[in-house]
Amino acid sequence: MDAMAEIRQTFFEECAEQLAELEAGLLAIENDEADSDTVNAVFRAVHSIKGGAGAFSLDDLVHFAHVFETTLDEMRSGRLESSEKVVKIMLRSADALADLVTVARDGGTADAERNAALIDELKGLVALAKGEEPPAPSAGKSAAAPASDGPVYDDGMGDLDFTPVAVDLSDLMGIGGDNRFKIVFKPSPRMYAKANEANRVLRDVYALGEAKVVCNTSEVPLLTAIDPEGAYLTFTIELSTAESEEKVREVFEFVEFDSDLSIEALPDEDDDDDSDDPDIADILARIKATPDDEGGADDVSGKDEPEEEPAKAAEPAKAEAPKPAPEKAAAPSAPAAAKAEAGGDGKGGGGGAAQTIRVDLERVDRLIDLVGELVIHQVMLSQRAYQAGLARASDVAVGFDELEQLTREIQDSVMAIRAQPVKSVFQRLPRLVREVADISGKQVRLITEGEWTEVDKTVIERLADPLTHMIRNAIDHGLEKPEDRLSAGKTEEGVVRVAAMHRSGRIVIEISDDGAGINRKRVKDIAIKKGLIPAEANLSDEEIDNLIFLPGFSTAEKISSLSGRGVGMDVVKRSIQALGGRVSITSRPGKGSTFTMSLPLTLAVLDGMIVSVGDQTVVVPLTAIIETLQPKASEVKSFGGDARLVQVRDNFLPLVDVARELGYSYEQASATGGVAILVEAENGARSALLVDAIQGQRQVVIKSLEANYGRVPGIAAATILGDGRVALILDVDAVVATSRPEGNFFNSSMQHAAE
């Protein structure tokens, strides 16, 4: 069923939100920043997950969430103190819950042993709160093997009151068995005040079998004395049915506390059939309290609506009460709304009724595309008007200026739709830090700043991996062990700070630690040993620090299970460059290191350098450009066949003739007549691109060439310029790769001029 699949997806989306809320709440509790709302929100998060999981029969998840919820309830009621130990257990439980959600969504197996241990710990906390002895740890078999052992609801889980499937016991009663009941039912006014109606209850009774209903109207007063909201009728029902007493009782379950009710099984063969029912004494007591129903009874068996009169009588009362409620309802709503807003300022989001809509991403992208076109057409239109002789001071020109401003604003606003706070990535970090700290035996405090900084959704999605890796690196390599920190005169607990901010149209994320900083001597030795730099290379501190980004460099002497995983900082650097970003490191010995990565706010537009190549215009992504220069004849060396090298200070770089590369020209362009643009590919390889001239620098809207035409080697995408012409965006990586078959940065580009 399609709808169910969709709801299932919603459920997992919501789980992710609830888990984030849960973790944020627990962290606030840990830092003593919590109020009762926080505890409630934490409880609700687990409760919601349990509720949804129940609907999908995710038994393991329900089971764990239930135990967790029970413990949180103790905290909520104040019986369980939120001590550091308690919160730590809860944080670990939150992690386990997240794992169970992942398993439920993607399949696989959860760490049953850990979960069973956590369940024991959580139960221990409940017992502690209740002042009981903690239960003995259930040895191994508890929830550890739920899959093989049938439902998880057994095994000491007596307190689990969550039953996913209702059991119908009617078969057990024997079909056709004629059960007879005498039911005395006297609704109280309270019952009507809750929108229950006697006639509906009676209707349900009829549905059970053959019923004879007698209504005692003797208590109905004279019209002048009647209370329109009163209740004066008593119904006596004789029912013969195949259903059990339980079923009969179910009909009355909504009304039994707002009426005088007795249900008595009439003798069929056996008299005291159900006298062992604990409720019987209660019912007997009530029968005694029920007024005698024999005198003055009208027979109303059948489908008359016996209490029609009082109900009708209540009508005028309804009409007379105009609408006092709206004001009453409005009054408390104002502070509630204000509070929700205050919460939004402080911790953000929060309130369940935040004003958001969900829109299909495709629609947003279509809108962004269209606005891109709009910007282009607006520029084109004004350019043509000026070319046709429009005076700059004319009213029309002023109108063009305003139009330009407006279209830019529209473009910014539309781009902002795709923007999301980095919070969604940042909130995964505490768990990561906990795990890495545990494994590495270090004490770490994580500080995040600027989590509301917004950036394009695509950038956010692709930010998580490099960020994760850099934080692992900061803890594993950056921070010292507690004992080393103490002897260095620092606190045992290391600090990792992750801060996001906007800076000149880009997002900048800094990951800093207060560890030992980069051991430059060791880094340099390793680089020399691995042949990454010549032994006599004279590098600045900054250059040494940035050696860690070189492919094949790893400072870990043995492969650690954390930072290892087969990737080094070079991979991090490449994935950031793939997003049009840059990363660098600064380090102070003994004080710590700071990684800084800067990324574009969106992948839909690109900062480009517009250059002329032959009679064509080409865009070179600005992020790839290191510098530009005009080569002198003495700096250009021919090198076997057509290949040329250009000398840039101490290095020789391949000189790529872009016009020839793209097939615009068969002639080799004169190196001295053009401009050489030094670019660096994602893998760090550098080349110099020879173009005719630089036109300028501007932001361009990226148009996919593959979607509109087809893939062209050496070209990444296209864009439309202000004058309406199409310009191709150069694929720097591809162009650099063709010029350097070896492709390895240090094997060629760091070659000394002397060689």
Binding site: A3, M4, E6, I7, T10, F11, E13, E14, D37, N40, A41, F43, R44, H47, S48, G51, G52, G54, A55, D161, F162, T163, P164, V165, A166, Y192, A193, K194, A195, N196, E197, R200, D204, E253, F254, F257, D258, A317, K318, A321, K323, P324, A325, P326, K328, A329, A330, P332, S333, A336, A337, K339, A340, G350, G351, G352, A353
Partner: protein, 123 residues
């Protein structure tokens, strides 16, 4: 005429579940995300709902507070209100009843039982 149900639940999953179940049984569904929102939605409705189904545990205004507020308006005493609760939580059923709930629906609900419960209380 199609009957209208107002459902109030802070869980999107539950809201969608209720909506799909109820819509496929021919009800019109109006949704709210918590008690406070429920009150606001109710004020804004041209015709009052035939039945209200509300969760208990919700931010801003919980199910109990919501029911009390609805019932404090005499003209809204005739709207049946069902609360969503877990099977054995007698205390919650009791509190909901005292607040003015008409009945309850056990979570996770079985679609036929849900519709049965509505038919039991709806006129």
């Amino acid at each position: 005429m199609k009957r209208t149900i107002l459902t109030i639940d802070d869980s999107r999953t539950m809201r969608e579940m209720l909506k799909v179940t109820l819509a496929s049984s021919g009800f019109t569904v109006v949704q709210a995300e918590d008690g406070q929102h429920g009150i606001e939605v109710l004020q804004g409705m041209d015709i009052e709902p035939d039945v209200i189904i509300t969760d208990i545990n919700m931010p801003r205004k919980d199910g109990f507070q919501f029911i009390e507020e609805v019932r404090s308006n005499p003209s809204r005493r005739a709207i049946p209100i069902l609360v969503l609760t877990t099977e054995s939580d007698q205390e919650k059923k009791q509190r909901a009843r005292l607040a003015g709930a008409t009945g309850w629906i056990v979570k996770p609900f079985d679609p036929t039982k849900l519709v049965d419960a509505i038919n039991r209380v709806a006129a």
